[in-house]
Point group: C2
Chain length 197, copies 2
DNA sequence: GTCTATAAATGGATAGAC
DNA sequence: GTCTATCCATTTATAGAC
């Protein structure tokens, strides 16, 4: 889909093409079921070109992971911009994540569900990554200003976002009857009831 | 830990030993980072013995996965036995899963967090496995008898258990200050507020 | 900067002795 | 039923031409 016919890209464009192709294959088959050879073929480039842009397979995956975490972090920041109050922000974050799950399922599959520590052993767990910390902070601020009950911060965050994250998994596993966004209002309402003051 | 010194087991005992060792290694390093050779060495048995009991590496993993799903399913059934009402049952399930996470982290790591479809391509997603269906049913029954609001069934289930499952991930990732069971009451209280009638 | 060809190693699986 | 030895395919990564 992203890669249709390949007009023999070079340089930075080739690099981006490799990353896009790797995301396709990693999210579809997993990191370990995807060989450099697979990426080579699907991207229409040579082995040498890949190894010119990335030190090795792990570095390629790390580069991809970092760039997607950054994208998610920015998406969250954008979603919160202009929103006032904890509930409004939480709702905006979940809405954004739901629509991303529908529009860019490969990204969410790769970022949320993959077990990165298996192939990026030096990376911290996903829960301490920037986007997840940002979500936690939104809820913690809600506690500070009295919108949210005085809960243990982790509990408050997992109550607010745990259900939504599982709904995203269900969507990616294809078990939901309707598109994820149809469930937005009810998901947010349920989660908010759990933590509101 | 499970495998300390090996009194040269045979037959069914050897088979169990291989499964236990595989669970250790799979949950610690992941399926793809664990070779048959690794299992061979750690279990103190020969390659031939492994291939006598299991058709191949995938069949070994599948056997392990099935047995652990069954264990979890029985644990949930046990937890619910004698409990009356949706809330009591949900609480018992979460309590059981929390204590299992502390006592048998390798099991929960392997069952909950691993991406089985990467190496068991024919298995259905975890959300349609028996233990997860059982959790969903407990909540659905709560809707039927009026304890729980009239919510979309998936939303009700993910609201009730989504936060708890994420807390389990946090425990397994080692980011919590206190043992998981310390958070039980508050986690259940928050989730229940989200769905109660 | 990109290519082809190939080196080097790993790992799943089998054969055949005991 | 278990063992050792080994085969063979796959895959990561490099060398060197263009």
């Amino acid at each position: 889909m992203t890669v249709s016919h390949r007009p023999q890209l070079r340089g930075e464009e080739l690099r981006e093409n490799v990353l896009n192709t790797a995301l396709d294959l990693f999210s579809e088959k997993g990191y370990f079921n995807t060989s450099i050879h697979d990426i080579r073929c699907a991207a229409g480039v040579s082995t040498g070109a890949i190894y010119h842009h990335f030190q090795n397979k792990e570095a390629l995956a790390k580069s991809l992971y970092m760039s997607l975490l950054l994208q998610m972090d920015q998406a969250i920041e954008d979603a919160c911009r202009g929103k006032d109050g904890c509930m409004e922000r939480c709702r905006a974050i979940i809405e954004k994540m739901f629509s991303l799950t529908l529009e860019q399922p490969r990204i969410m599959q790769f970022v949320l569900l993959a077990q990165h520590r298996e192939y990026l052993p030096d990376e911290p767990p996903i829960c301490s990554s920037k986007p997840f910390q940002a979500m936690k902070k939104v809820v913690a601020d809600g506690i500070t200003n009295g919108e949210v009950r005085e809960l243990e911060p982790w509990i408050a965050a997992t109550t607010m976002f745990g259900g939504a994250l599982r709904m995203m998994s269900l969507q990616l596993d294809g078990v939901l009857d309707n598109p994820l966004t149809d469930y937005l209002d009810e998901v947010v309402e349920c989660a908010w009831r759990g933590i509101k003051a």
